[in-house]
Symmetry: none
């Protein structure tokens, strides 16, 4: 369980963690990043998770499809 910095939004910190995992290869392309799993792992509510994944989606790091889930993008945007 990570330690949240109380001076920054949790959703931002969660997005940071996932971003690192993608950059490092811990989450390879096509890896499922489930909202429900993130809820459990970080101990936060769904709205908080969704803000994090929404941010990563805008960065092009995640591709989300209804009914399937959010996946690490094939070609992670890096600039």
């Amino acid at each position: 369980m990570i330690e949240f910095d109380p001076t920054r939004p949790k959703w931002e910190q969660i997005a940071d963690v996932i971003r690192d995992r993608i950059r490092s290869g811990e989450y390879p392309p096509r890896q499922l990043v489930s909202e429900v799993q993130l809820e459990a792992e970080f101990g936060v509510a769904r709205g908080t998770v969704r803000k994090a994944t929404a941010a990563l989606r805008e960065e092009g790091l995640l591709v989300t499809t209804q009914g399937m889930g959010s996946f690490v993008a094939e070609k992670p945007a890096d600039g």
Copy 2:
């Protein structure tokens, strides 16, 4: 139809009912516990049912397989 206690979450109360049915033998091992049926029986949304079954799964009372369903475990955990 059961009467929900408004001071406790519905998913918790539904889990309680199913747990009792398993303990009492009303739901024997390998009995299917369908999410759709629970929705209808308790008059709640699917997400609510899924929270209940997820709790029972963690307790070892249910075993779930996608495409098949949730079944009462062969050897219900009793500790």
